[in-house]
């Protein structure tokens, strides 16, 4: 690891006219980390990335790269490489010329350019396509060409704005894995924008969850998954999404559909809460909340049940072996440590 590529955002605010696209964003990205910016559409991920790249200036706040304040530095002086969602390949140049372009601009000697281009192309497995124009490549090949153009310069920071969103599902999975390997082998810092929570969960070392121009939570995928900070994060992460049920907390139990469910929070006084339970945390058992099975979605190795718990709709993801028939009556329950409690007013975790 080269130790380069440390990023720090301090209180970044971005206004578009009167609209606050970013409301004071803070984060730290460590060298060689794979950092994902995750959030729903319009939450400010691209805006953050563009400010980091130097394509847009923040309204206020500081951007630091490797300890230097680059807030007002030119994009060209920041040593960042970026892969755009549209790839932005130069259509009139061959793949070779596309990959060579950043080196040419950096005034690299002609003799050194060809081997560097070959090397980058080999890393993303397009060395046999160097003579083609971008228009003669498939979507996946174009994506690789854009990757090669970004890695050829060995920038310390590698920015990717939804680079996989134009690929079909299968290719997306393959490329995802290769992207991670590539980042590991290059040892560069990667900042990765996506609205696909699964992509962020599988790729990122750590991630920042954006909601409406603010970061709701920063942490490893496991941390964010197991301890979501707020209702919004809880609802956004995980598929199918977490069940969120309004309920009353009384004596350390939550009362759902008239039935008590034990929690770990016996310390709290009685109050109204929103209960969060992941579909995978629900089990079918001999006791618990009575529920009617409305619908069974069989996924092969598991199944997702739509349950009716005395009027509340709940989804459960269960093992393939014990699928109850549709319209049957079952009991569901969850372990105390799998029950998340949120304040319905502040929407924060309690």
């Amino acid at each position: 690891m080269n130790g380069r590529g440390h990023v720090r955002f301090e209180q970044i605010v971005k206004m578009h006219g009167n609209f606050k696209a970013l409301k004071g964003v803070d984060f730290d990205i460590r060298p060689a980390e794979f950092f994902a910016l995750l959030g729903p559409s319009g939450s400010g991920k691209s805006t953050t990335l563009r400010i980091l790249a130097g394509l847009d200036a923040p309204t206020s706040g500081r951007v630091m790269i490797d300890g230097k304040d680059v807030t007002s530095a030119d994009a060209r002086d920041r040593d960042v490489a970026m892969v755009f969602q549209s790839y932005a390949l130069y259509p009139h140049m061959t793949v070779f010329e596309n990959i060579a372009f950043p080196l040419e601009m950096a005034k690299m000697a002609k003799a050194d350019i060809a081997p560097a281009v070959q090397d980058a192309a080999r890393k993303v497995k397009i060395e046999h396509l160097l003579e083609r124009k971008p228009g003669q490549l498939s979507g996946g090949q174009q994506q690789r060409c854009a990757l090669a153009r970004a890695i050829v310069r060995r920038a310390s920071l590698f920015l990717l704005d939804e680079p996989l969103s134009n690929l079909d599902a299968k290719l997306r999975l393959e490329t995802r894995a290769e992207l991670k390997k590539l980042q590991r082998s290059l040892g560069v810092t990667a900042v990765y924008v996506t609205h696909d929570q699964e992509e962020a969960m599988t790729l990122a070392d750590r991630m920042a969850v954006f909601m409406a121009g603010e970061i709701e939570q920063i942490g490893t995928p496991a941390e964010v998954f197991t301890r979501p900070n707020s209702l919004d994060v809880a609802a956004f992460i995980g598929s199918p999404p977490m069940n969120l049920i309004p309920a009353r907390l009384a004596g350390g139990n939550v009362i759902i559909a008239g039935q008590p469910l034990a929690t770990t929070r016996a310390d709290l006084s009685d109050r109204n809460v929103t209960v969060g339970i992941r579909p995978s945390a629900l089990r079918i058992g001999p006791t618990g909340l009575p529920a009617k099975v409305d619908l069974v979605e069989d996924l092969g190795d598991s199944a997702v049940l739509d349950l009716d718990c005395a009027g509340t709709r709940v989804r459960a993801r269960i093992n393939h072996d014990d699928i109850p028939p549709e319209n049957s009556s079952v009991f569901v329950t969850a372990r105390p440590q799998d029950i998340h409690l949120f304040d319905p007013d502040t929407r924060k975790r309690i």
Partner: protein, 279 residues
């Protein structure tokens, strides 16, 4: 099968009619330019005759040679084209990228200038040029031509520039290219087709222009379109010479057309598809 054949035959027949209608004046000029003065007046018109290059020799090397006029036409057309493109390319690029109040209106203004009947503005132009002593000069005619060709060229080019996604420029910028380099290496190569189309149109407009030239030129600077007119007089029309000059004047147009055919067809269709989506 027969229906399909019939349709193809019909298409070919209709195309032939159009081609003949289009070819007739060219053919007429070409044939007459090869006749003698006696043959050209024969009635009924002679289809079979002994061709001669007499007329060409006269108009090129005779006492009233039109060579200087051809040179004038070239200077005016090339001058207009070069200056137009030098100004129009950066201007169109800026227009395509900038958002400013009145942009829509600017587009309309350009179109409006193209719709004005030229006769309406020829007198004020004449007065202005006379005022600054530029009647019968290259700079005078080129200046007037620029007033038409520049807005037209900018308007034509803007849609090509607008077609290039902004991300492309940002990518080049992150790759370390300056703005000028981005324009030169990334943007302009992608609008080559549009530039070719514009060059052809501007050049041809200047080359074919007659009305302004006849008013604003004189004995020093007289383009071939005006000179051609001298072969028609009250006493007689020198048909063979007129035809020969016509052919000579048409030659660059046809050559340019053939040369730029690929670009023009592509450029026009691209422009047409895009035309609806102009922002």
């Amino acid at each position: 099968m027969t229906a399909k054949r019939l349709r193809i035959a019909a298409v070919i027949a209709i195309s032939l009619i159009f081609i003949l209608a289009w070819m007739f004046p060219i053919l007429w000029s070409f044939l007459n330019s090869l006749k003698t003065d006696k043959d050209v007046l024969a009635y009924p018109p002679k289809v079979l005759f002994t061709p001669t290059l007499e007329a060409y020799r006269d108009v090129l090397f005779g006492s009233a040679s039109i060579l200087p006029n051809l040179v004038s036409s070239f200077i005016i057309s090339i001058g207009t084209t070069v200056i137009t493109m030098l100004l129009a390319v950066p201007a169109a690029y800026a227009l395509a990228r900038l958002r400013f109040p009145g942009k829509r209106f600017a587009g309309f203004y350009v179109l409006a200038t193209q719709m004005l009947p030229p006769v309406g503005i020829i007198i004020p132009y004449f007065l202005v040029l006379r005022g600054i002593g530029w009647i019968d000069t290259y700079q005078g005619i080129i200046l007037i031509y620029l007033s038409f060709s520049l807005p037209f060229a900018i308007w034509l080019l803007v849609s090509y520039f607008e077609d290039i996604p902004f991300e492309m420029e940002e990518a080049a910028y992150l790759d370390g290219a300056s703005r000028l380099r981005t324009l030169w290496r990334i943007i302009i190569p992608q609008v080559r087709g549009g530039i070719s189309v514009t060059v052809v149109f501007v050049f041809l407009n200047a080359w074919n222009e007659f009305l302004f030239a006849v008013v604003l030129s004189g004995n020093t600077v007289r383009p071939v379109t005006v000179a051609m007119y001298n072969f028609i007089s009250v006493e007689q029309t020198l048909w063979t010479k007129l035809a020969a000059v016509s052919v000579l004047a048409m030659l660059p147009v046809i050559l340019l057309g053939i040369f730029a055919q690929k670009h023009i067809v592509k450029g026009l269709t691209v422009g047409a598809v895009k035309g609806g989506g102009r922002r």
